[in-house]
């Protein structure tokens, strides 16, 4: 099954909700998708870890530490999560 535009929007919403749980002061509409998140939102290493924990709970993807560097911007993060979910459903035969 190919991901639809509405799947993409739902993923984006889930990511922004997880981010807002950690940083309640942000307004999701103001997050630039191509600027590193940590340049826009005050996230220390504990906040980042909590963000990933929340993402894991919402989206079901456990991001290994080695991949953190690839996930600077919102766009990168969304593309990464989409790819991980696609490969997970592929290996599950779903």
């Amino acid at each position: 099954m190919s991901a639809t535009a509405s799947d993409d929007a739902a993923l984006r919403r889930a990511v922004l909700e997880a981010l807002q749980r950690i940083a309640p002061e942000i307004s999701p509409s103001e997050i630039a998708p191509d600027v590193p998140l940590r340049d826009q939102v005050d996230l220390d290493s504990m906040d980042w870890l909590n963000f990933l924990v929340a993402l894991h709970a919402k989206v079901g993807v456990d991001i290994p530490e080695a991949d953190y560097a690839k996930l600077a911007t919102l766009d990168q993060l969304l593309a990464y999560l989409k790819a991980k979910r696609a490969s997970a459903s592929h290996t599950n035969g779903a």
């Binding site: 002061e25 996230l43 220390d44 290493s45 504990m46 870890l49 924990v53 456990d62 530490e65």
Partner: protein, 400 residues
């Protein structure tokens, strides 16, 4: 009979406002139980009791402002009767110095006309004069009586005062931010006025520590990974074992070494401000447990739900500006503590090793310490010990 007094809630807190009782007369309590929630300018704090007994009476009502050290509840010791407690109360009340106008009695005789409860001044004196109707209304409207200036007789808070305050309203976030800023200012001003600080700093190579952590975290689910911040706290706690003069409190002209190593963790709050609750017995915690406690402590500090022991027991503070920070922090000691350890941003910098210039992850660790208790020489040895500890990260997870 046990007189349960409001414990210290941190250096800058000399009073608290009762928000909630978690117990009622007749309830049994054990060591570590939370008996009340008290509001300070920084946080709502769960007040723990460290004795065992049965709640006999609650001395203060919700919204009362109580000084640190004021009796807030009385408890029966295991096996004690109510009659015995009443006798004890009378004995304690009689022992309270008689007010100046009364001639000192040659022998301790229970005063006849003022009843013992009236004669016990610490609790009674701190009670706000509030009309009963005003108190009920304040509770209903969520108005904090402690912040109200009364316009009634002898400064009593009237129903009108409460209703005026409720309509003016919106005291919460702005008030708390202002109060917190004032509290931080007061304790830092006192620290800078009274403590002869000296400052040291050194660069610590982190290659081994970060590699070891990365290997340890590899394959672990996100909920079980350990941050460098936790490893740094552990290293500080371990290094302190040989430097008791950096761990403890300076009070009344003398230094008292800490009974344990309880590292206070400076946590910045998103809405502004700072709070430094303690990770109790930091040196004894296995790394995974330390990480769990740190995560929990940060979450509760930000949700403003901390425990009284966390607010009062820190024996040193660590401030970690983290990877969004700057290279060096020269901190202000959190009196009555005698030292503060700071970590700047870990980053790759040029480093000479075995005659070669290499790119090395480094962190600049700093020490601010109290010259009344220690000297720069010992402080320097401590920072070197800290650096050595971080070169053998695997040993930080072993039992001491």
């Amino acid at each position: 009979m046990i007189e349960f007094k409001l414990p210290s809630l941190g250096a800058e807190m000399d009073q608290g406002t009762l928000l909630e009782w978690k117990v009622k007369p007749g309830d049994p309590v054990c060591k570590g139980d939370v008996v009340a929630v008290v509001d300070t300018s920084k946080s709502a704090i769960d007040v723990e009791i460290w004795q065992e007994g049965t709640v006999y009476e609650l001395v203060h009502a919700i919204h009362d402002t109580v000084p640190v050290g004021g009796v807030i509840a009385r408890l029966l010791e295991p096996g004690e009767t109510a009659e015995h407690a009443e006798a004890e109360k009378r004995r304690i009340a009689a022992a309270v110095p008689v007010p100046a106008q009364a001639a000192p009695a040659p022998q301790a005789i229970a005063p006849l006309s003022p009843t013992p409860t009236q004669a016990a001044p610490p609790a009674a004196a701190e009670r706000r004069r509030v009309s009963p109707a005003a108190r009920v209304r304040a509770q209903a409207l969520g108005v904090d009586l402690a912040r109200l200036a009364g316009t009634g007789p002898q400064g009593a808070v009237t129903l009108e005062d409460v209703e005026k305050a409720a309509t003016a309203k919106a005291p919460s976030p702005v008030d708390r931010a202002l109060a917190m800023r004032a509290a931080i200012g007061a304790v830092m001003a006192r620290s800078k006025r009274e403590i002869p600080h000296y400052y040291l700093a050194t660069d610590i190579p982190l290659a081994r520590a970060t590699q070891w952590l990365a290997q340890r975290n590899e394959g672990r689910p996100v909920t079980e990974r350990v941050l460098l911040a936790a490893l740094l706290l552990k290293a500080v706690a371990r290094a302190l074992a040989r430097f008791p003069e950096l761990n403890g409190h300076y009070r009344d002209g003398a230094f008292a070494p800490g009974a344990g190593i309880h590292v206070g963790v400076a946590i910045s709050l998103r809405q502004g401000g700072l709070i430094a609750p303690a990770l109790l017995a930091t040196d004894t915690l296995p790394l995974d447990e330390l990480m769990r406690r740190l995560t929990d402590l940060v979450a509760r500090a930000r949700a403003l739900t901390l425990r009284s022991s966390e607010m009062s027991d820190a024996t040193i503070t660590v401030t970690n500006l983290g990877d969004q920070g700057v290279d060096l922090v020269q901190g202000v000691i959190y009196a009555p503590q005698v030292a503060l350890v700071g970590f700047g941003r870990p980053s790759e910098r040029a480093w000479v090793e075995n005659g070669q210039v290499v790119a090395m992850p480094l962190v600049t660790a700093s020490l601010s310490a109290d010259h009344r208790v220690s000297d720069g020489h010992r402080g320097a040895l401590f920072l070197n010990e800290l650096s050595q500890r971080l070169q053998q990260p695997e040993r930080l997870d072993e039992k001491p």
